[in-house]
Amino acid sequence: MTAISTSGLTKRFRGGQLAVDRIDLAVPLGSVYGFLGPNGSGKTTTIRMLLGLAYPTSGTASLLGVPMPDGATTVLHRVGSLVEGPAFYPFLAGADNLARYDAADRTADPATARARITEALDRVGLLAAAKKRYRHYSLGMKQRLAIAAGLLRPRELIILDEPTNGLDPQGTREVRALIRQIAADGTTVFVSSHLLAEVEQICTHVGVMRTGKLVFQGSLPELRRTGASRVSVQTADPEAAAKVLTGLGLADAQATEAGDAQAGDAQAGDAQAGASAILGDASPEQVCAELVQAGIGVRGFAVVSPSLEDLFVGLTGEGFDVSG
C-alpha cells in the first residue's frame, strides 16, 4: 500500500485550462516526499483533489489505500493537512480554533480533546499563546497553529502545502525541524514547495511538477543520478589533461585556464586551471592513475555531481516562466 497514489489524475478548470495533466503519484509509506514545482505548476490543485476539496476531471486518487473523494469521510481523519496557508477564525483564540476543528471531527474523542489540543500547541511551541486571539498572531504563529491543527490526532499521513510560505529564515528552520520530528514518528510527510532548498535536506523522495505534468518522481539518489557527474582535474597543463581525458573515452572534455571563470561566479575567486569531463561509467581511480601516468601534474582531483538545484531548475525551467 502507498500513502498516496494517483493514476492519470487530471483537473481541467471550467475555463478550459489544464491545471493538472494525467499525473501518477506514488508516495511510499514512511517517506518524506517533496512535491516540487514553480508557482502555478498545479501542486495546490493536486493537493485539493487529494483531500477531496476539488473533484478530478478524470483519473483516480487514493489516500492510504482509500479512494478519494468518495472515501473522504472515512480516511481524512487519519490525514493531517495544511492547504494554501493557514485559515482560522480571527475572533477566536488559538486553542479555541483547534477545539472548533476537533469538534467537527466525528471520530475524535471529546474526552481527550483538551489534552490533545494542549499537546499539539506544545509541539509547535504555541502553548504560551493558546489564549491569544488568532487575529493577533504573527505570520509564523499562524503557520505553526495550522501545523498544530494537523497534529491534533495521531496521523499516518501529513500533507503540507508550502508550509514555510512567508516565514523568515528562523521560522523556516523551525518548520523544517518540526517536519523531521513528525517523520521520525513514522508519519508519512507529503510537503509541497516551490523551493528545492527548503525540502532538500529533509526529503527522501521528490516529485517535480511543471505546467501540470509530473516531470520526475523518485528518490533523491535517483534524481541525482539523472544528472551526469564530471571529473575535474586541477593542473598547470589543462590542454594536455583534456587530451588525456578525451583519450580515455570521456565525453565533453574541457580545458579551463586560470581565472577563466565568469564574473559573478560564486567560485570566481578560486578558479584554477584544469580540465573536466563527464565521468560516465569510467572509474575515477582509473582516470586519476591514467592522468598521472601520462605525466600530468595533478594538483587536485574531484568527482563533481550537479547540485540538486541545477537538476531542479533543469526540470522546471528558470524562474518567471509560469506557463499556462
Binding site: 485539493r48 494554501e84 472548533r100 467537527a104 471531527d105 471529546p110
Partner: protein, 275 residues
Amino acid sequence: MSAGRFYASELRLVLLRRRNLLLLAVTAVFPLLIGIALRLAAPRPEGGDGGSGLAFFNQLAGNGVFLTFIALSTLLVLVLPVVVAVVAGDSVAGEAGYGTLRYLLAVPAGRTRLLAVKYGVIVTFALCATFIVSAVALAAGAALFPVGPVTLLSGTTVSLAAGLLRLLFVTLYVTAAMAALGAIGLAISTLTEHAIGAIATLMILVVTSEVIDNVPQLHAAGPYLPTHWWLSFDSLLRVPVDTSTLLRGLLSFAVYAVLFGSFAWARFTSADVTS
C-alpha cells in the same frame, strides 16, 4: 453524540459572535420601544381603516398580551428577516471567506453533515430571535397594559392561559416562516465566498417579495411569494382557528425549505471548494 458536539460548537460560534449578540439585543429592544410608544400615545377606541396590524392595535389598550402580536407583525417586516439573513447568509459563505471551509472539510466534517449542522443552527437562531421578541413583548405588555382574559380578533374571549397557548403557536409559526427564509439564505450562501453579498441578496429578495405582494395587479403571484404567508399567524387568533390559511402558510414554508435546502445540498456536495 459527535454530531451533537459539532452542532454545539457551531451554535457557540454563532451565539458568541458580538455581531449576532447585538442583533439579538436589537430584537429585544424593539418590542420594548413599541410598547412604550403605544403606552404614551392615546388609545384610539374607534379603530382605523381595518387590516390585521391595526386590529391588534385596537386590542392592545384592553390587553397587554396583544403587544406580542403587534411586535411580531412589526418586526416581521424587516428586523427578523435581517437577523435571520445575517446568520444564514454568513453560514457557508463566511467559512469560505475565512478559508476555514477547506479545513472543516479536510477534518473531515463531511459536506452533508456540515450543511445539516449549519441549517440546524440557523433554525435555532431564528427560534431564539422569535422567542425573544415574544418574551420581551409579553413582559413589556404586562408591565405597561392591563392583562387578563384575551379577547380574540373574532370577538370571542378566551382565558389568559388559552391566550398564552395561542401566543406559543403564533411564535412557532413565525419561527417556521423564518426557518424557510433561512433555507433560502443557506442556498445563496453556498454560491459565494462573500458573506455580505449573500446577506444583501437575501434581503433584496425579501423586500422584492414584500413589494410584489402589495401590488394589486400582481395579486395572482401573491400566494407563491416567500413572504406572503408570514403575517397569516392572525388566523390563530380567531375562533374557530382559520386552519386552511395556516396550513397553506406552513405548506409554503415547507416547500421553500425543501426546495432551497435541496438546492444547497446539490450545490455544496458537488462544487469544488476553491476558497
